[in-house]
């Protein structure tokens, strides 16, 4: 996914070092990969909060976006019988670890603070295992966003696309204006992010049957062929130089106007805000055409590992994470929505307000789904099988019929 080679080596060394110095009783040892600017400073807020309660923080950052390197370190630590207090984790990784029977239990604090009532149901599917709370969700990112350069859209007719056909005509107009219509980086997870949105735009039932229930007939069916056709259409609006480009460079293309739009999760907003752009004036955030009303999400959570009866500091940390003020402060910086639906949206910008409203609505309507591309729809093996096919098709190695066929076969092979 990203450059994790070096990190894996370094983390191994780190994990040996950490194994020699176990955390003191009133400390929490936190394994995470938020080492960059905004995220790191938001974590600082959490650190300070805990220190005021007499809980020390032992930082164990493992660089490498996506957290693959962090998971490798975690394997080594757990195998050695020395699990950290809390670990940043995503989606099905949480479920996989819960099945290994090594996680803690947060029920006491969850009951007291009524988490069941404020955390979206689809999130609880990951944060709870066998009815017990095992993790504290920090945020909800939604992945079915389109980020549009406003000037480029105005030049292309100015109408915000609401359907697939309108989207294609806007992209055509942008192409005619001589810019790259769609900024995209050719990495498997980015290709899959587009794929997620396209599948969702074909209907919520279709998304659920294909990506979450993994129904073989749907995966290889006619509708899936159409999804791949649409992927080919999107590919025709991407510049030829897209292979291997990082997502933030694609965002930069939209920011400086060499490209019209980017389809990416809401972490992309941070790039726009950093370049001092204002939502609504310089750029627009819309749901992928045809997906307004439903949301595909991924969520960072701090998973609590079993501390052999010494869970006091752990419970304090979980409570601090779920504190509405922290949720607001952290997510304003991160570009995501809070992981509880009762947080005030006063501090958020227009895109943030929209994200929170969409999330609450989708939660009510039952149209909040885990994102396949970001490991919240199916386990890692299935996710990567989907990556393989989507990426091969996007790079022209398979045609749409072959891709749909291959999709069902690859998923079946790893089930």
């Amino acid at each position: 996914m990203k450059l994790t080679t070096l990190a894996a080596g370094i983390t191994f060394a780190l994990s040996i070092g950490a194994a020699i110095s176990p955390a003191a009783a009133a400390d929490v040892e936190v394994l995470h990969w938020w080492t960059a600017g905004g995220e790191a400073s938001a974590l600082e807020v959490l650190k300070k909060d805990l220190e005021s309660q007499g809980v020390g923080w032992q930082d164990m950052p493992v660089a490498g976006g996506g957290g693959e390197a962090a998971m490798t370190t975690l394997r080594a630590r757990v195998t050695a019988g020395n699990a950290p207090t809390a670990v940043q984790m995503l989606g099905f990784d949480i479920t996989d670890w819960a099945n290994e029977d090594v996680l803690g239990n947060l029920n006491s604090v969850a009951t007291e603070e009524k988490w069941d009532e404020v955390v979206p149901t689809a999130l609880q599917a990951f944060a709870k295992h066998d009815g017990n709370w095992i993790s504290a969700p920090v945020n909800v990112h939604s992945t079915n966003w389109v980020w549009i350069n406003k000037a480029a859209l105005d030049e292309a007719g100015g109408k915000i696309p609401e359907t697939w056909e309108e989207l294609v005509s806007v992209l055509d107009a942008m192409k005619a204006n001589g810019i790259t219509p769609l900024a995209h980086g050719g990495q498997p997870w980015q290709d899959a992010t587009l794929f997620d949105a396209v599948v969702l735009s074909m209907g919520t039932d279709f998304y659920k049957q294909s990506m979450i229930d993994l129904d073989m007939d749907v995966l290889s069916g006619e509708k899936m062929v159409e999804v791949f056709d649409r992927m080919s259409t999107l590919r025709s609006y991407v510049d030829d130089n897209f292979s291997g480009r990082d997502w933030n460079l694609a965002s930069a293309m939209v920011i400086d106007g060499t490209a019209g739009m980017q389809m990416m999760g809401d972490w992309a907003k941070g790039e726009f805000v950093k370049s001092e752009q204002t939502p609504g004036e310089d750029f627009l955030c819309i749901r992928f055409p045809g997906t307004q009303g439903s949301v595909t999400f991924n969520s960072d959570q701090f998973v609590m590992f079993n501390q052999e009866g010494d869970a006091d500091a752990q419970l304090k940390m979980a409570s601090a994470i779920m504190n509405p003020e922290f949720q607001s402060a952290f997510n304003v910086v991160k570009g995501s929505a809070p992981a509880r639906t009762d947080v005030s949206d006063a501090a958020f910008d227009d895109c943030g307000k929209k994200a929170m409203k969409d999330l609450a609505d989708a939660n009510e309507a039952g149209t909040l789904f885990g994102s396949m591309a970001h490991g919240h729809a199916a386990p890692a093996a299935v996710k990567n099988a989907v990556y393989d096919v989507v990426t091969q098709h996007f790079n022209g190695e398979l045609n749409s019929e072959e891709a749909a066929e291959e999709l069902a076969n690859s998923v079946e092979a790893v089930m």
Binding site: T79, S243, G244, A381, Q392, G396, E397
Partner: protein, 291 residues
């Protein structure tokens, strides 16, 4: 007493490292071997499933395509590095001035890590900012070199970067070999009226046989375990066009939670390397005995 101590000291000094290697290299090879016949998914687990993982592995298109890539990459890398290394060595061996300056220049890339090489070449060959972009900026509009973005050619870009890194090292090996040639033989051939080219073709290059063998062994195992170069240069893309067995192994073991299949692919790579190293060691050891 003193003599006995002298006999023991080398054993005492080498003992700890010998034990460590025994455990951390060979012990873990055996462990990986066991994992490859176990039902390990995310964490190691020890249920025995026989050769099931190997069967699954050889059914994966992904695995066969990474083997194909390795074949293309390995053969080109070994052949081009050997030829280029020999050529450079012969040119440097012409008693030229400033040889002491030129030799380290050619040898220097070897001092870089493959990550650095990969990243630098990635930028250099990127059509949007590297060579092609510069040529266009200088006015050569029709210049085109976008192999790194092309599914069919990306693997050759990996070859180019790897050759750039390793051919200097091979050159140094050949240079040492050339210096070892007995000048009397060459003088005798000159007296017989053989031309320079002919002397090289008929006498010197055949004498380089052991160097060719060493170069082959070094390059072959580098090729099979190639990982960091691909990760830094193309990330296995475009699509799966530059996926190699080593990147396959990492991905299946650590990102896909299919440790059993990852371990079985590691064992297959080990078998490949052994099939090169074992005959080589055998011939080396036999040569030692004869001498």
């Amino acid at each position: 007493m003193k003599e006995r101590l002298q006999a023991w000291i080398p054993k005492l000094v080498l003992g700890p490292s010998f034990l460590l290697i025994l455990f951390f290299v060979y012990g873990f090879i055996l462990y990986t071997g066991y994992l490859s016949v176990s039902d390990s998914k995310m964490l190691p687990s020890y249920g025995f499933v026989g050769l099931e993982n190997y069967e699954k592995l050889w059914k994966l298109r992904h695995w066969t395509s990474s083997l194909n890539n390795l074949a293309i990459f390995g053969i080109l890398y070994i052949v081009i590095c050997s030829v280029l290394g020999l050529l450079l060595a012969i040119l440097l061996d012409q008693k030229i001035r400033a040889e002491g300056v030129l030799r380290p220049i050619y040898l220097y890339p070897m001092a870089l890590s493959f990550i650095v090489t990969g990243t630098a070449w990635k930028w250099f060959l990127d059509p949007g900012m590297g060579l092609e972009h510069t040529m266009h900026a200088w006015g050569w509009e029709s210049f085109q070199f976008d192999w790194i973005k092309s599914r069919t050619h990306a693997i050759y870009v990996v070859v180019i970067a790897a050759v750039w890194q390793s051919s200097g090292f091979v050159m140094a090996m050949f240079l040492a070999g050339l210096r070892g040639v007995d000048p009397d033989i060459i003088r005798a051939a000159e007296i017989d009226g053989a031309s320079r080219a002919r002397i090289y073709r008929r006498i010197i290059i055949p004498m380089m046989r052991p160097v060719f063998l060493s170069a082959f062994v070094v390059l072959a195992h580098l090729a099979i375990k190639s990982y960091d170069l691909v990760v830094a240069l193309t990330g296995g893309g475009p699509g799966k066009a530059t996926e190699l067995p080593a990147t396959f192994m990492y991905s299946y073991t650590f990102s896909r939670n299919l440790m059993g299949i990852g371990a079985s692919s590691a064992i297959i790579m080990l078998i490949m390397i052994f099939s090169i190293i074992v005959p080589y060691l055998y011939s080396e050891l036999r040569a030692d005995k004869q001498s």
